[in-house]
Symmetry: C2
Subunit: 218 residues, 2 copies
């Protein structure tokens, strides 16, 4: 009685979050790839406000915004693989840092691959500074929430396959600056729910390189 459809785009870190959450819960769903330059009538109908992927359609009803979808998935399929911490304070902290990622990491990453000259150096520094704050929050824990993989890991790990493109365009190494964060990302990737949901980093690089060309960068 559960019909689940995901409107998504392969390269989206936000889409990857939802794919991971669905995989963690073992939910079968129909994946529908969107052409973002020519959005489907279904996408426009299901998310008329933002017209963005990902959208989860559960028994005909749409849910938009990736972090809201992940919480919805966690609340509806609550018998397996809890994603948010059960303690309200820990839950508030997980939401705080996930919100921080949405407010900071995406824009900072975007600047790294579009900025030039001095701006590029500033963009790289900003990006690394943000990751260092996240690394400090991780501390010595295996996952952000402690011993088990959860909400905040899902919120961040979709950016990981993008690091290769950013590092190549920006000529820097995240691992040299944030070794613990990379260790965390690698251990996330050992989980099948993550590895099968993340896009290939070489393909993301090619995708971004193509995009830079059409934007007139290099």
């Amino acid at each position: 009685m559960n019909e689940v459809i995901l409107l998504d785009f392969w390269a989206s870190m936000f889409g990857m979050r939802v794919r991971i959450a669905l995989a963690e819960k073992g939910i079968k769903y129909e994946y529908k790839e969107e052409d973002l330059r020519n959005k489907s009538p279904l996408l426009l109908q299901m998310n008329p406000i933002h017209k963005k992927i990902p959208v989860l359609i559960h028994n005909g009803k749409p849910i938009s915004e990736s972090l809201i979808i992940v919480q919805y998935v966690d609340e509806v399929w609550n018998e397996k693989a809890p994603l948010l911490p059960s303690d309200p304070y820990q839950r508030a902290q997980a939401r705080f840092w996930a919100d921080f990622i949405d407010k900071k990491v995406y824009d900072a990453a975007g600047k790294v691959w579009t900025a030039k000259g001095e701006e590029k150096e500033a963009a790289k520094k900003e990006f690394i500074d943000i990751l260092k704050l996240l690394e400090t929050e991780l501390g010595d824990k295996p996952y952000f929430g402690g011993d088990s993989f959860g909400f905040l890991d899902i919120a961040l790990v979709g950016f990981y396959p993008w690091f290769y493109a950013l590092e190549t365009f920006g000529n820097f190494s995240v691992e040299a600056e944030c070794p613990k964060l990379i260790e965390w990302a690698k251990s996330c990737k050992e989980k099948e729910s993550v590895s099968k949901s993340l896009a290939d980093e070489k393909k993301l690089y090619e995708f971004a390189a193509e995009k830079r060309k059409t934007m007139g960068i290099e």
Copy 2:
């Protein structure tokens, strides 16, 4: 055993959200007014990432970001006045629209009182268009969640006392454009939890007029 402190600033629509949530739950707390041009060491210590109010400090532990605080308050004090809907889908919708308010309404309102000439007309139109989307979402329900006051009402109603300043600077009437939304706001204000938590609209106007002067607008 519950020590609750709120770091806040009287004119903040985000602070008003937290005040309303605490009032709905009947929670006693210590209110600490911040001088945003000279932030207290306590604020900088409790919210080192964003350095912003509101911050709720519950038994020594800080929670930041107003919507996250309201959810925390609802989860910890869960025996009285539920704020989020109990149904996961309704909860996701409430979160979606609250997120929409944070992404759209604040910036659009800011533009109305800082823009000039043609930009000002565009800013007013954008602001009204956003409010009209919210009015459509409200529909014929007394509150956004249905028959009882809740999360999404709290997310939006803090903007209501700001309308007077916006209308005066922008020379327009929200009520003429969105009569049902104003009806909703007025019925929210009949609740003591709301009326005692909202700042006075004339004082907000004076505050904004002073700010416009220091910004060199008029």
